[in-house]
Amino acid sequence: MTEAILDAPTLAPETPGRWLEHGFEALYALSWRDIEDVQLKALQLQFDKFSTSVAALEKLARREGVTRVDSVEDALPLLFDHRVYKSYPLSLIEKRDIPKLNAWLGRLTTRDLSQVDISGVTMIDHWLDRLDDFGMLVGHSSGTTGKLSFVPRSKVEFPAWQRSYYEAQRATTGVDAYTDPVETFFPGYRGGHQMMMKMLSLFNIPAAGGPEHYHTLYQGHISSDLLSLATRMQVAEDRGELNQLGLDPALLQAREALLVQGRRREQDIEAWFFELFEEFRGKRVKLGGSFGDLVKTARSGIAKGLKPEFGAGSFIMTGGGMKGLKDAPDDWEGYVKEYFGIQNVGMFFGMSEVMGMSPRCSQGNYHIMPHTIPLLFDRDMKLLPREGEQTGRYAFFDLMAETYWGGFISGDQVSINWEEDCACGWKGPRIGPVITRFHEMEGGDDKITCAGTADAYNEFMDFVAGES
C-alpha cells in the first residue's frame, strides 16, 4: 500500500475534478483507506463552500444543526434525497410557470439563475436550452414516476465529467476516446435534456469524431415537455379535454408524432441495425443501447437469418435496462456477444446524480474511484460498516461537484466489497454485479389493501419513458 502511495500522484482536495488527469490506473492503485483523509478534506471544502451558496443545502444544514463537517458521518444528514431534485409542485410544470421553476432550481446551485434570460419562454425544453446557453448543463430524469427531477449540473463540471466517462470507457473496453475515435451507433434519440440523452450526445459525438460519425435511430431530440406532461395529457385526452389544457399547438403535434414513432419503434430499430450491418460490414464500430435493445435486435436478426460482421476492435458500451423485454436470456451478454460477433462489451455503473462512473472490471465488478465517497445504508437508514461485503441502499458524496451539493442517497440497492482483493488487480471499493431497486417489503410477498397507495401507472408514460 505504501508503494502505491509513493507511485501515486498527490490528490489535491481542492480539485477532485482533476484527479483523473493521471488516468484511472493511478487511482485504482490507491487503497481507499489511504485516501480517506483527502476525501474528507475535499468534502469539508465542498461543505464550507456550498453551505453558504446553495440555498437548499443551507436550509437543510440549519435544520439539521450541522455547522461543520469533521467526519463523513457528520455530513450524513445532508444527503439529498431524490425528492429534493423534484420538490417543486407538479402544477408548475403543468402551468409551465417557468419563472417559479427557475427560482426553485436556483436554490440548488451556486450559479445565480435570476440572471438567466427566460423572457418569452413557455416550454420546459426552451427553458433548459436557455439554461444551457447560460452555462448550466441541467439534466432531468425520464419521469417514470410522473414527475421530472432536475440535476443542477453546470458547464463548470463538464471537463471532469467527460473525463470520467472517457476513462470509464478506457478502463472497461481499453479504447481511449480522446485519441481513438470510433463510428458510434445508438438506437435512440440524438439528444435532449433527459440526462442519459444529454450525456450520450455530449460525450459520444466527440468520441465518435464528430456529428457525422454518430448514428442515432431518431434524428430528433427527446422532448422534456412531452415527458413531463405525458400523464397529464393522457388524462385530459381521456376526458376529451386535451384542447382545454392550453398547450402550445406545436407540443400537441410533437405528441402525435411521438405516438406514431413509438408504434413503429421496433421496426425502426430493426431497419436501422440492418442498415448498419450492411453499410458498416467489416468496419470497426461502437454499439450503444440498453441490454434490452441489444437483445431484441439480436433476436430479430436471428429470426431473419441475418448475421452482422464488424471489423476488428469493435466494441459495445451498454448499461442498464431490460425494460419492455420479456423473457430476457439468463446469459444475455453471451447471447449478444455471440450474435454481434463482438467480444468486447464495456459496462459501467453510474446514475444521473453522480459524475464519477464506475467501470466494470474483468471480474464483473464496478470499482468506485476516489472522487466518489460511497456509502451504504440499511433499512433503518443506519450506515453500514466499511468492511467485508455489505448490501444496502447506495448513497455517495460526489466530490467532483463544483457548483452544487454532491451528497445524494439513491434508490439502488447494491453490494459493496471493501476489501480491495479483486482478482482484476484494481483497488477501491467495488460494487457487485447484482444491482436492484431498494424498496421495503413490509407487506410481505403479496400485500393487498383497499387504501390507495400504489404509484399511479400510466401506459403512455411508460411508453414514452421507455424510449431512453
Binding site: 436550509k59 425528492r83 407487506g443 410481505g444 400485500k447 389493501t449 383497499c450 390507495g452 397507495t453
Partner: protein, 494 residues
C-alpha cells in the same frame, strides 16, 4: 421474529395442514414466515367444478343460514376463540394497527354475524323470497318468475382491516354461494379463523361445505389459470391494487364477472365557515382528525387530502396553518380505540415531508409521521405525493371554490367528509356524478360520536358505489306458458 407458522387450507369443511412433501413457505408482514399446503396440489379441493353441487345450499332456507351464522357469531369473540386470538396476535405483530384499535375491530365481528342485521341485509339487497324460491312478476305476468341463485365466487381479499374476511364469508352465505377466498399475505389468518370456527360448529352445514380458504402468491399464473375458468368460477371480487386485478385480467373471459374493489383515496371538503371562528375551527379539526385518523389511516375511507375553501394570500395561509395545528392537536386527543400515535416513523413519507418543508415557498409542514401531521399547500393543488399520505398525515389544499375539487375526483374517490353541513346540498349532485361514493359528516365535536355515526349504516347499503350482493347472484327467469286468462286479457286490450 422468523417463527414459522403453519396455516391450513380450508377445503369445504376439511382442514388440510401442511406436511412434509406438501408445503410451501411464504413471507408475511413484519418478517413472519408461513407454511401452507402446496395450493398447486389442491386445485380440486379449492374449486367447485360442478355448479350443480350448490344444490344443498340452494335448498337451505335463508332463515336456517342466518341462524347458523348468528350461532357462529356468538363464538367469534376474541376472548374465548383461540383461532381469532392467533389471528389477532399475528395482526398485532404485523404492526398495521395498534392494540386498542385492533381489539375494537375484532370486537365488531360478533355484530357482523348478528341475526337481525343479516336478515335485514338479505331482505333489503336481494330480498329473501328471491333467495328462497321463485318470485312471480306483478300481475298480469305471474307466469314469469325470478329467482336469485348462488354462484361460484373467487374473492381476492384485502388484508389491511380484518373485517374484510368476515364480510366476505357473510356475503357468500347470504348469496347461497360457493366462495373461495384467496388470503392476502398481510392477513393470512382471519378468514381461516372464521372458517375454522364454523367448521367446529358444524362441519356438515351447507354454508361450511361451500367455503374454501387458501393462500397463493399473487400472479401465480398456474393457480390463476387453473381457477379462473368459466367451468369453475362465475364471479370474482378483487380487492386491492391494479396489480392484483391486472394479474387475473388476462384470464377473464365472458362468463366471469369481475367486481374490482380497487384502491381509494378519500378526502374531506371544508367550507370557509370553518375558519371564521375559533370554535368552528376546532369542530372541523376534530372531524378531520377522526376521519383521517380512525384505524390509523389504513382504510379506504380515511381522508388523505383536505380541501378547504380559502384564499392563498399570506393571512389565509396562516389561518390554514392554525387549522392544521388544531388538526395535529386533535389527532393527539383521539381515543385510543379510534386511533393511536405511531411507534415508528414512516421513512418515505417523512422524507417527503422534509423535502416539502425545505420548499417554504410552496408548502408548510406541521407535525410528523409519529403523532400525525399536516402539509399545507400554499397554492391550489394537492402535494404530488398525495398517494403516500399515511400515518395520520393529511394535505390541506386551499381552493377558491369547493366545486373545483371535482376535477380531482374519479372512481377512486370513495368517502368525502363534509364540514359544515351547510355546504353539502350544493355539492352533493355534482360530486356524485364525478365518482364520489359516500358523503359523511364531520360535525359534532365528539370524536366517539362522529366515529360511531360514520360507521353506522343501515343493513345492505351499497359498497364503493355498487351492490355486491345483488351483483354476486345469478338472476334466473322461469317463464312458463301464459295462462288463458292473461292471453284473453291482452287480446281484449288490442
Amino acid at each position: 421474529m422468523s417463527e414459522l407458522r403453519d396455516i391450513p387450507i380450508i377445503a369445504r369443511g376439511r382442514i388440510l395442514m401442511p406436511a412434509d412433501g406438501d408445503a410451501v413457505e411464504f413471507k408475511g408482514r413484519g418478517g413472519s414466515s408461513f407454511r401452507s399446503p402446496d395450493p398447486h396440489k389442491h386445485i380440486q379441493d379449492l374449486v367447485l367444478g360442478n355448479a350443480a353441487h350448490l344444490a344443498d345450499l340452494n335448498a337451505t332456507k335463508m332463515a336456517d343460514i342466518i341462524e347458523f351464522l348468528a350461532e357462529a357469531g356468538k363464538r367469534l369473540r376474541l376472548e374465548d376463540n383461540p383461532y381469532l386470538q392467533e389471528s389477532f396476535t399475528l395482526a398485532l405483530q404485523a404492526g398495521g394497527l395498534a392494540e386498542p384499535i385492533l381489539r375494537g375491530v375484532y370486537d365488531q365481528l360478533p355484530y357482523m354475524f348478528d341475526g337481525q342485521s343479516l336478515t335485514a341485509q338479505a331482505e333489503q339487497t336481494i330480498g329473501i323470497p328471491y333467495l328462497d324460491g321463485w318470485v312471480p312478476a306483478p300481475a298480469p305476468h305471474e307466469n314469469v318468475r325470478v329467482r336469485a341463485v348462488g354462484t361460484r365466487q373467487l374473492h381476492i381479499t384485502a388484508g389491511n382491516v380484518p373485517v374484510v374476511a368476515a364480510l366476505t364469508i357473510v356475503r357468500g352465505a347470504l348469496t347461497k354461494s360457493d366462495i373461495l377466498i384467496k388470503s392476502p399475505s398481510n392477513d393470512p389468518l382471519t378468514a381461516n379463523a372464521i372458517a375454522r370456527t364454523l367448521i367446529e360448529l358444524d362441519a356438515s352445514n351447507p354454508v361450511v361445505r361451500h367455503i374454501a380458504v387458501a393462500y397463493w402468491k399473487g400472479g401465480d399464473e398456474f393457480m390463476d389459470s387453473q381457477i379462473i375458468r368459466t367451468s369453475r368460477i362465475d364471479k370474482i371480487t378483487a380487492w386491492g391494487g391494479m396489480s392484483s386485478v391486472k394479474h387475473i385480467q388476462k384470464f377473464l373471459s365472458p362468463g366471469i364477472d369481475l367486481t374490482a374493489l380497487n384502491p381509494k383515496y378519500s378526502m374531506s371538503m371544508i367550507g370557509a365557515e370553518a375558519l371564521e371562528s375559533e370554535a368552528a375551527m376546532e369542530e372541523a379539526a376534530t372531524g378531520v382528525a377522526v376521519i383521517a385518523g380512525f384505524f390509523n389511516q389504513t382504510a379506504c375511507a380515511n381522508t388523505r387530502v383536505v380541501y378547504v375553501e380559502s384564499d392563498i394570500d399570506e393571512d389565509s395561509i396562516e389561518k390554514l396553518a392554525a387549522f392544521g395545528r388544531k388538526i395535529v392537536t386533535a389527532f393527539g386527543e383521539l381515543p385510543p380505540v379510534i386511533s393511536t400515535p405511531f411507534e415508528k416513523p414512516n421513512e418515505d413519507l417523512a422524507a417527503e415531508l422534509e423535502a416539502a418543508a425545505l420548499e417554504d415557498d410552496f408548502y408548510h409542514v406541521e407535525g410528523d409521521t409519529l403523532g400525525g401531521g399536516v402539509v399545507i399547500s400554499k397554492f391550489e393543488d394537492r402535494v404530488d405525493f398525495y398517494d403516500q399520505l399515511n400515518n395520520r398525515v393529511v394535505n390541506i389544499v386551499p381552493v377558491s371554490n369547493l366545486r373545483e375539487v371535482a376535477k380531482w375526483c374519479d372512481d377512486t374517490t370513495q368517502t368525502v367528509g363534509i364540514y359544515p353541513e351547510a355546504i353539502r346540498d350544493e355539492l352533493l349532485d355534482t360530486f356524485s356524478l364525478v365518482g364520489v361514493q359516500r358523503m359523511v359528516s364531520l360535525s359534532g365535536s365528539d370524536p366517539m360520536q362522529i366515529f360511531h355515526d360514520m360507521h353506522t349504516l343501515p343493513p345492505g347499503m351499497p359498497h364503493d358505489g355498487i351492490e355486491p350482493l345483488r351483483r354476486n347472484v345469478r338472476w334466473v327467469i322461469d317463464q312458463r306458458p301464459a295462462s288463458d286468462h292473461t292471453q284473453m286479457m291482452s287480446i281484449a286490450a288490442e
